[in-house]
Symmetry: C2
Subunit: 498 residues, 2 copies
């Protein structure tokens, strides 16, 4: 609050009255929101970049943003087919141009036919363009080995975040001891903590087991639930698979998913399955199972009754089209009247961005083997996934060679979440500065190397353990240098405080 109080005393000195809207008078829930992935460390990274531009001397020549899963910002090239079709949709005059393959033109015409006024510039219905909802449903059916998906249960969104917030909004009710509690994994993706804070719901932490490569253990779910009961009403369980921030055995086994579903059913919890990394699975032997598929294959009483919302996005996967803000949620066994309420709530924002909807359509129905664009599309897609797999391996190797750093295998997604030993004197120093010890470490790392990673405290971690989240997205050679630089810095930092 320093700033605002400062402003106000300033205001008084200038004979101005206090503002209507101040830190003290504003929405207290918003004040409590924290969002580490774009928190103070990223603000500082921005300042450092500006200082570098102004020619200020630094021990580094560029800031490397390994803080956020933003593939194209890290140099990944967009998939040609996706951008060809989108360009045709944006500017249909190009449909007569010889420089686009026929299948791209057909796809663009098909999408435009489904748009109001045959234009991306018209609003769509609030749940998203019907044709695209149907294509998403077919994608889900293929993904889940033929288990049916109903387009009317698919709602397009402004990235997955938007859909996650919408479903959480539906779930929040009660006051005091009856307030809705939502179980979320620790470490977690801070969208969850931020949204629950804003909605005034109770965040119920369950810890993933780092020693077992971040496995989800149902006995820990029980512990968390029992502790939560009495001071809130736990009504939902969030699972992130493959995992974020760590990307380890958070490619969950089928057995684990079945156990989670049984737990949710017995404890009457609405399930939220964050599956935006479903296309990012690298490790040999690990395979993505969707919660929907496992639920349906479990049969009664689970299949027909357990309420589930599953989220996907165009931001991650091989395409990494974060800027288009495309995504969807599929709801399963949701009360029909509640589903109408969800649609009503979505309608207040009119519709998700139509270019993002079009992009999602291409992601869920890529070129078929008989299409002219198939070969290039497959080659580009495989190249991206192969490089991510190599980066995942490299990250694990380099970190585990470094004393005081341990890193679980990166089985999926696009992050590593290594654990770092911090010397007691560094912890004390951090406490003097009023910083979380790993925030202190990450800030020093940024100032001395230009490497921007997010402290584990921003995602949650067991008391007394310290981590940071780093994406594996920089180009391979750059990533190698970055990993080595980071390991050397940690050694130096440890020495300095021993």
């Amino acid at each position: 609050m320093a700033l605002s109080t400062g402003d106000q005393s300033q205001a008084v000195r200038n004979g101005l009255r206090a503002k209507v809207l101040t830190l003290h008078s504003m929405n207290p829930r918003v004040r409590q929101v924290e969002y580490a992935v774009r928190g103070p460390i990223v603000q500082r990274a921005l300042e450092l970049e500006q200082e570098l531009c102004q020619g200020v001397k630094k021990p580094f020549t560029e800031v490397i943003r390994a803080n956020i899963g933003d593939a194209q910002a890290m140099g990944q090239r967009p998939i040609t087919f996706l951008r060809q079709v989108l360009a045709l949709c944006v500017n249909p005059d190009l449909l007569t141009s010889p420089s686009f393959p026929d299948d791209a033109k057909k796809r663009a015409e098909r999408i435009l036919q489904a748009c109001g006024g045959h234009s991306l510039g018209a609003y769509s219905v609030s749940s998203g363009i019907q044709l695209i909802r149907e294509d998403v449903a077919q994608y889900i059916e293929r993904r889940d080995g033929g288990i049916p998906a109903d387009p009317n249960n698919v709602f397009l969104s402004t990235g997955a975040s938007d859909a996650i917030v919408t479903v959480l909004k539906l779930l929040v009710a009660g006051e005091g001891h009856t307030r809705t509690g939502v179980l979320i994994p620790i470490p977690q993706y801070p969208l969850y903590s931020a949204t629950l804070a804003e909605l005034g719901a109770v965040q119920v932490d369950y810890y993933l087991d780092e020693e077992r490569s971040w496995a989800l253990d149902v006995s820990e779910l029980h512990r968390a639930l029992c502790q939560a009961r009495g001071h809130c009403h736990p009504r939902a369980l969030c699972v992130i698979n493959p995992g974020n921030p760590h990307s380890s055995r958070q490619v969950q086994t089928r057995e684990c998913i079945e156990a989670v579903i049984r737990f949710a059913f017995e404890e009457r919890l609405f399930l939220l399955a964050d599956e935006v990394y479903q296309d990012n699975v690298y490790a040999a032997g690990s395979q993505f199972h969707s919660f929907k598929k496992v639920l349906m294959e479990m049969g009664p009483p689970y299949a027909g009754q357990q309420e589930l919302a599953s989220f996907h996005s165009t931001s991650k996967g091989y395409m990494g089209e974060c800027g288009f803000r495309g995504g969807y949620v599929e709801v399963v066994n949701m009360d029909a009247a509640v589903q109408q309420q969800m649609l009503k709530l979505m309608s207040v924002r009119l519709c998700p961005p139509v270019p993002g909807q079009a992009l999602l359509d291409l992601v869920v129905s890529p070129p078929a083997p008989t299409d002219p664009s198939f070969a290039q599309f497959q080659a580009e897609r495989q190249a991206v996934l192969a490089e991510l797999a190599a980066k995942a391996k490299l990250t694990e190797q380099v970190f585990n060679k470094a004393p005081g750093i341990s890193c679980n295998p990166v089985q999926g997604a696009m992050y590593s979440f290594p654990r770092v030993q911090l010397p007691p004197r560094a912890v004390e120093r951090a406490q003097e500065l009023g910083l979380a010890p790993d925030m202190f470490f990450c800030l020093r790392l940024l100032e001395e190397t230009g490497i921007c990673v997010v402290p584990g405290s921003g995602f949650g971690q067991r008391e007394g353990t310290y981590h940071f989240r780093m994406t594996i997205l920089p180009p391979l050679e750059k990533l190698r240098l970055l990993l080595e630089k980071l390991s050397r810095f940690h050694a130096k930092f440890t020495l300095e405080y021993s």
Copy 2:
């Protein structure tokens, strides 16, 4: 709740247990949200379209959606220059193509330079691409005759709706009698009532004066404020200029705006100025004045202290690019710490859609007279605005010829909000059916003519008066037929219930 209760008894019959999430257990605030522009009447329109597709015989051959300001859905063609630049941004391979003008290529390169990884597919910073914030600030300066605008006070958003919701979120605090109250015009755009309901804030209605073509009267603001005090804490005042749903002398005079600002300052209200129709001003003699400009020209104590948020969008204006969800808010005199909190809140959603940001950049900095694309751009822009002006005039003329319908001049925006006389027996019949009388009228209109308009009750109106909102967007000849058909239906409806 019928459906959910129905579902549950159904569930019981099938030996299923009740859902975790039901109409009864869900977020009660969400349940209270209403959004007329996409409410039941639009659902019914959708059903009718499907029935027509299935060959069901109707007294009409197509449903005409005059319910929402969606220009391109009504056949308006996108502005060529905007789409050319966007296509180049989406697919930079086209930058070498001879079929694009040089200025379009330069603009695309300039935007891509400002994107992470030079791609629309990267996230931007949460406040929007810095270059575009600077272009928006320059646009505001030109619009306001040189009054300075700071890019750091400009935040890009997912359409204006997103920014309006964000600012309202900041303002909501307190419980019971201290809950935040927000003054909104009646009739209003239902985003405001919906958002206040969801946030649990108190909606404080002030009525616009239909007899004086929907003028805003400060004495009415006083009345509304006094009545509100005691049962809530009024902290903000929303003004929509040019107006929506009516588009009448809601192109406010400078004197009116000054009076509103004085009122807000004296009563310590944060001002929200919804100015998304600032480019849509047709009527001779009426001119758009921005609240920012008037505020600054009023000088002390107002200029340096009155807190203001002004909203704009790419959805309206001459471009009508609703589907891209572009928009911005400029905040004036906002507490610096609160502004940081706003940025934090925006960061949880990562960033606004980048294609929408790019589009906004083109809207705020169109081709200059020396640019190759200038002539065509101007011609297309003028054609759109001229046709809207003609449609505005036509709407007023036809409606005012019809007995029992009266329509204020449409001075701006893209809507008419005519008042309709409904015979007492029709009002009784509606009440028997549990419908608002004008909802009953609009539903009958839809069923018998295929014309979809929104009842005035969805926007609010004085007790005992009845209206509907109709866009003026259909092509001119289609609009003429529609207006006459609607007038004839009203005559028939009146006869039927006399």
